[in-house]
Symmetry: D2
Subunit: 344 residues, 4 copies
């Protein structure tokens, strides 16, 4: 296989991780990095003397040596950069959230499709051992029918000025759910509040409705005294607790639940039984998520595979972020996901 | 002061606790207990030979020796029993939720007012050391302006057939909030789901809106693999974590938060600073809540005081339960609390 | 089977639990209780009108209706009471520690043996679901060779005036070890300290030496700011954590450990490999320990079985308590268990 | 002040941290690094092109540009390297444990004293915010009289071939105690066990005796299923819990304890009262320990100050390690620290 040459746009918070990952995994090398900041580019040079640097991202798109572009810039710039890269014939890996609107996401998907290029969204959590184990437990029916997905992601975090807390934090949970759950939500109801005048909401609650009595709920908060990263997933056969702050036992599988017995004569009065059994915490794959993800991106390019977190996944997440923001403005009003402004 | 003679209606799950409490605290004695079950009444007699027993609650209302009635029966019977007791001139302590509708609650309040009788609702948590400490920290402005109140009350719990999980579990949080928070909510948005055909919702999420950017949220669930009883209360000066499962340090006060600085020219771009300081877990009053509550009920009767958890508090909680149930049916539609059917 | 009639001596802290247990389990009934305190005996009568009460334990021993005596008095009185009971032909269940010396324990064992009576020591923890599960995991070789047993039992506890903290707290761990571990210790080294002038040691550390490189260690402390009840058991195949304060997952089994590879040429430089796998928390039997124990005592009497926690087990524990106290006085000097003054 | 030029010997596990720290703090710069491995030296060069590298540590000692040497090599080499450095007139910072014997430590102390050079031992934990806070709480008498110091430092850790677990793990606790406690121990009793044939002990327990009824105990273990880093410090006024694995509240101060009342007539029967109050978790200094330590080393050189963790502190720790190892061989036999073979 040919080595895939990567250009990285943006060397702020996340960019250095992308550079390191593509530099380390087999099958790829980073050949150029662009950033507005001369200072940051100096860091690139001192650490990776062989990598070309530039303040102009267009230099990367124009570089015939480069096969793929990884974009790690603020979300408002994702669309223009990704579109230019695709139009220049480059495969694209773009930070989450994919774009600021589902319209933009659709255009990128179409562009990549037309040009037969890989378009992947950096939904990093999907590539962790914990989330992959949850996916496996759901996909193999070990959990049974899924009843609910409930996640809390709160701490005293950096207030963003350009996006509300949903776009900053819930995006993680939505990308995980998109991968783990067996179906997609049809509507969302969200509530939230801003505690700094003129600033976006810093606390928010989302309920997502699915067919088959599956319900999901997210609590995100930049203003909590304690850090919590905990997901509960309830099923008819098993229930899962996923605590990302646990150093080793992140996933716990409980053999707990209810058994429902109804008789034909009396469907309205079901007999609910309770079941409690062992708890089991499976060993998780320890490979760093970003490495797994980089390998996957390279492979999709080389073999023409569709990424797990492709443009469609990115679009589905953005569509929910949009709808949730709209619902939040209307204090919980139900927004159907197919009828959201996406459609336009 | 004269000893207050108590009659207890209902000797199922909670009744024995009421009997024990009124038997132990000074100023009261239990003179009679009624229950449908002969078996339960036999337990009363073996443990308290001096207490009269009867299968007919009306015997208690007719008994001139009895000053006050404590009602610990299913919620659907509260209204009739409490109304009869009041009409018979007895003071009343009634289990939570007070009634099945706010209309009923209003009638009881009016009846008690007309007859100048004490009407108290058994919002037990309000009388715990932990909740009283939270109340104190809020009332003395130690917490500053309140930003949010967030509570999780989940476990693998008994599925009820007659009420949804909100009426069973959220009633605790609503009674705590009614006591602790400085204002009352103006609207509610709730979502939830039933996972047993024909049965009420077993998982639910409530958002409560208040004036002044205060938001509250409750998560209640009968089908969780782990037991959680945790409340976060965020304020401008301090943030509180209240974990009812902690054996000793239930309340933790964090000197954490944000500081907001805006300039006249740029009100739209506030500067948010972050503050982290000591954590402090105050010693809590250890008296059993039910004892404190029993003493308070006796005192209100003897001195003509208004109970902390009076009929109005009971009504406010019932009104929210009604509105939340209505909102849940409409998948999160905002229900204003003043315009709820209560009004009728 | 005939019902076994029980007499209980001592109705202080533990006695009421014994009375309740023997009253509830099938096959036995409590016919009499003795205690020095008239007040306590009044409590017996109000709760159990059918039980005879007396201030003189000898009345129980002389009562031909009584088959077995349960002794729940201070340890200094165990020997005289148990001996009298045995001499009167009664089976005996005695609180832990069995006696104040191993000499006394031996006399009781001999007396019971001569008279063919059941002599059982109330090592309650042995009858809990958690300890029985540990026993099973060790006995079935699931844990492999046992490397160490480490227990911490500390909290702010009641200072005793007559016995040091080893006799009060370590007795629990020693009785658990006696049941769970596959062999018996040959020597003990203990250290400790008293922080109240003239009073026995309130903090102590015991190391127990076994054959085959098994080592055990206990930390007991009446003066700790937090309550800890945690045992680690390390084996060649699995490692166990037993946390008695966990509400449900008390036992956790870790598939962790080392693998040792040595070659004949280089036995002095072993290759140590590390293994980490799943963690598993088995569901535990929830029957109350004291009920299981009462049933076992009844069965031993009826069927002539030897109790799991027989007089020999009680003696082994007392022998270690003696030796540890002696070692503690000598600041850790090794005391061999066979040569301890027991021998006299 | 002149900039202090540092030479670092050893670029394995810890050396890179020393290089980074001295490169970052003001007042010092790293001018040369030595290591046996060409590969490691290449890493130095790629990261710090200005730093000279050599495979021969003697080049650093001979370099007139270098003021001070930091030694991060295996403990068996500390003595020779440190002695050569001192003899070459360089100030020395040496990894812990300082040397393999107290004899060696004494020689280094004497050499540094004769030449008026700074000799500091890298007891890193002493420079953490948590340990400094404990020191402050003890030094200001907030804790009152110290009753005990108890530490557990266990996990599934790397088995060492050249030193036992005491030299690897207990060295941390001993260096912390040397700084925090108000007095020095006079004797040690230690027990332990090896579970790999021919290898040093992998589990060990140390009791340290002090004057005034202070007792300390350490539990260190390379073969534990869970990671624990917890210290309890009991005093007459307050009790401290120090949990190094807590992300933020590492230090908790409990207003708990006993009060002792005795009368002249009855000194043998003291009245023990119990006190429980608030818990308080102070905010800790967040500066990285190694940075604080590097600044301190520079300052000691520039101002002729005596380091907090000077050669004498290193010697005291080594002396205890020696004595504990000796006691462990004798299964807990008490080894007095002044009479240890050190004296020879």
């Amino acid at each position: 296989m040919n080595t895939i040459n990567i250009g990285v746009v943006g060397y702020g918070y996340w960019g250095p991780n992308l550079v390191r990952s593509f530099a380390e995994v087999p099958g790829s090398q980073v050949v150029a990095v662009s950033d507005f900041s001369i200072e940051r580019l100096a860091k690139v040079q001192s650490r990776y003397p062989a990598i070309k640097v530039t303040t102009n991202a267009q230099d990367l798109f124009a570089d015939p040596e480069i096969d793929a572009i990884a974009i790690a810039t603020p979300v408002s710039t994702h669309f223009d950069l990704a579109l230019s890269a695709l139009q220049a014939g480059k495969h694209v890996l773009v930070e989450k959230p994919m774009t600021v609107s589902s319209e933009q996401a659709k255009i990128l998907i179409e562009e990549a499709k037309q040009r037969n290029l890989v378009l992947m969204v950096d939904h990093t959590f999907v590539y962790t051992g914990a989330v992959r184990k949850m996916h496996e437990l759901v996909a193999t029916k070990a959990v049974g029918d899924i009843y609910y997905y409930d996640s809390v992601r709160v701490n005293l975090g950096l207030f963003q000025h350009d996006v509300n807390v949903i776009w900053d934090l819930a995006v993680h949970d939505l990308s995980i759910m998109d991968y783990v759950l067996p179906s997609k939500p049809y509507a969302v109801s969200a509530t939230g509040m801003s505690h700094v005048p003129g600033e976006p909401e810093n606390i928010a609650y989302l309920t997502l409705f699915f067919e088959n009595n599956l319900i999901a709920h997210l609590h995100v908060n930049w203003l909590a005294p304690v850090k919590v990263r905990r997901t509960l997933l309830g099923g008819s056969q098993k229930m899962i607790s996923y605590d990302d702050l646990e150093p080793s036992e992140k996933i716990k599988v409980y053999d707990k639940g209810i058994t429902v017995n109804g008789s034909p004569e009396n469907v309205y009065q079901m007999l609910v039984g309770y079941r409690t059994g062992d708890m089991w915490s499976p060993k998780l794959e320890l490979t760093e998520a970003l490495q797994t993800e980089a390998v996957h991106f390279i492979q999709c390019i080389q073999q023409g595979d569709r990424p797990i977190t492709d443009g469609e996944a990115g679009l589905r997440v953005v569509r929910i972020l949009e709808a949730a923001t709209e619902s939040m403005k209307k204090q919980g009003a139900l927004i159907e996901l197919d009828k959201a402004k996406v459609a336009a």
